[in-house]
Amino acid sequence: MKLTGSEIIMECLLQEGVHVMFGYPGGAILPTYDAMTKYENRLHHVLVRHEQGASHMADGYARATGEVGVCIATSGPGATNLVTGLATAMMDSSPILAITGQVPIPAIGSDAFQETDVTGVTLPITKHNYLVTDVRDLAYTMKEAFHIARTGRPGPVLVDVPKDVQLALTEFEYPEGEIVLPGYHPPSSADGSEISDALRLIEEAERPIILAGHGIMMSGAMQELRELSERAQIPVTLTLLGKGGMPEDHPLVIGMMGMHGEASANLAIQEADLLIALGMRFDDRVTGNLKTYARNARKIHVDIDRSEINKNVKADVGIAGDLKTVLTQMLPKLKPKSHPEWIGRIRDWLEDSSERDILNYETPGRLLTAQVINDIWEHTQGEAITVTDVGQHQMLEAQYYPHQRPATLLTSGGLGTMGFGFPAAIGAKFGKPEEEVWAIVGDGGFQMTLCELATAAQENVNVNIAIINNFFLGMVRQWQELFYEKRYEATPLFNPDFCKLADAYRIPNRRVTKRDEIADAVQFARDIDGPTLIEFVVEKEEMVYPMVPAGADLHDMKRRPKPGEG
């Protein structure tokens, strides 16, 4: 049967198991929107209020489910509005598919109305992209796009479809079988010699530590990680995106590493004699000064992306492969070991940290972000999917909301995109309707994408929004306090009345200013089947500790003084 390009797009989405797409219409994509009318009951389109929101929703959906999230936009401004979301997904290896309309082929290159070279613009921020110039290529291109987005190191793929290709008719047949691409072979298993080299280093190590990243969850290697850690008694520290890769209440998990990581984790990395880096990429926010980073340690680095190995940190054993496969190769030969002394050291550091924990301080009459996060954690039994924005509240979420399950903390790590949290939470809820979803956002970042309140209301998405309102671009203010002598240039915020704002969208809301109001407000939000908004008015000038200043040595952390230390 002959179908139009637009119908082929819909058919391909169905073939790939897509049920929902996030988008915004316009001239060059209109044929595809028209085709949607025939697919309404099988493919749900969520109308966003800004295409950036669509890209983050697709991303949130992808992160929550591991499936490809789909967003759609028109040519020109519609497509350029996706750019931030694509870059965000690229940095965090999130599989999304963006479909954009393009001006008709004869008009390409003529500066036609709403023409933008979208494949050019998005070239460095997509894993791959396509401009489809023949409707006969469309089905195969779509299949290829899904394949590339979700396999290997996942990432965003964009398919730009000119309007006349959307309208053209051709015989539709979804290509069968596996996609075979000549230049695309993600590595899977390791060589025997790599495995034995890695095992030898593990055997020889006295102070080993595992650095577990996002790759653990993307590869589904949670069980294998746990076995490695338990059998060889190796403590595990997680990256921000690695949280959930191993339950945080596990005695061998010592918390997050990096700039605002657990001090004990950073100290352990610096003192270790072996780093086992699994599915992480030694971002500068986790290493600090590379010259002094883990100087006494040998390094095993396993990542699916070969170009990550030796990029920032030289590996003694570098293995390009799929983590689950590689760990499965390794485990049968792994001998049990124990490092009681080493683990004891780390415990001492952990104890010191808990003495400095702000939750153990007397802070009468003040509402602190750490308390808000802690209490949300408590009242959601630590089981919610939390989606954060970027800033102090993000780091405090990472510190005070331990995650037990994979893909339950969704956050923009690599790009640090303000405005990500709220729309990504909407996307996550569409992907995981049975889960409780909380968007934990700052007053600054929320205002970057708050237009999606209308989307949440229109779709009645059951997302609970917790705005951490400190009337500041808090994280920037923190840097100004520490490194710019408190010159608070452009960081104090005039804010709307967030509750009235929610009212305007007919979204139930609460304002919390005292700690004893938190439990009630959380329950209120949980009881409502639809979007809710809680504004937590917190201390204006909090600090996130510990902090490794940018470029400083990882062990050179600014710590919160212990009570009595002044």
């Binding site: 791959h128 023949d134 195969y140 230049g183 030796n310």
Partner: protein, 194 residues
């Protein structure tokens, strides 16, 4: 002005799909990762859908491997090899237009060309074009010799390389939208890897 060929030059050879935009992707990668490229050439192979690139990098082999692993990530890049110590043949082609307007310069040019694998391919009353194909090193030497006579225009293709012997760098891939081309290939019966 240096005639010294950097001893730290490494060659990376890549087979890429002959598709629109591929060169752009590669150039974008080099810019994005701030890779320092000495020369880059692209040309067709005996298979119409495959192009081959030779990339010269002023760097150590480790840097070249970094480039190679990044190149390999591009979906349209089929295969990448770093030729550091492998014996290989390499050639750079130059067209050099030199001043040729008195007996002295004519004699000098002819004399130099005799000592090199160079040919005078166009002669006029004022200028002549020399064509020279050689390794980069010898070419540089030659250019230095003719320079005093007066080079007025020059173009070089950049180095192309090929490993020696039976180490074949080729690919046999097949692809949907190239079905037509593939049919031609099988009809022509060429293009097999040894």
């Amino acid at each position: 002005m240096t005639s010294q060929v950097d001893i730290n030059k490494v060659t990376v050879v890549a087979l890429v799909e002959n598709e629109p935009g591929v060169l752009n992707r590669i150039a974008s990668l080099f810019r994005r990762r701030a890779f320092n490229i000495d020369s880059l050439t692209v040309g067709r192979t005996h298979k119409p859908h495959i192009s081959r690139m030779t990339i010269r990098v002023v760097a150590g082999p480790e840097y070249a491997r970094k480039i190679a692993t990044n190149l390999q990530k591009l979906v349209n890049v089929i295969d990448v090899r770093v030729l550091d110590n492998e014996p290989h043949v390499e050639r750079d082609l130059a067209l050099i237009k030199v001043r040729n307007d008195d007996a002295d310069s004519r004699n000098t040019i002819t004399e130099i060309c005799d000592r090199y694998p160079a040919r005078i391919v166009d002669v006029g009353p004022k200028v002549a074009i020399i064509e020279m194909v050689a390794t980069e090193e010898i070419l540089e030497e030659f250019i230095d010799e003719v320079r005093p006579t007066g080079i007025v225009e020059m173009i070089r293709t950049g180095v192309v390389s090929m490993g020696r012997g039976t180490r074949i760098h080729d690919t046999n891939f097949t692809r949907r939208d190239l079905a037509k081309i593939q049919n031609q290939i099988s009809a022509g019966g060429n293009g097999n890897v040894i």
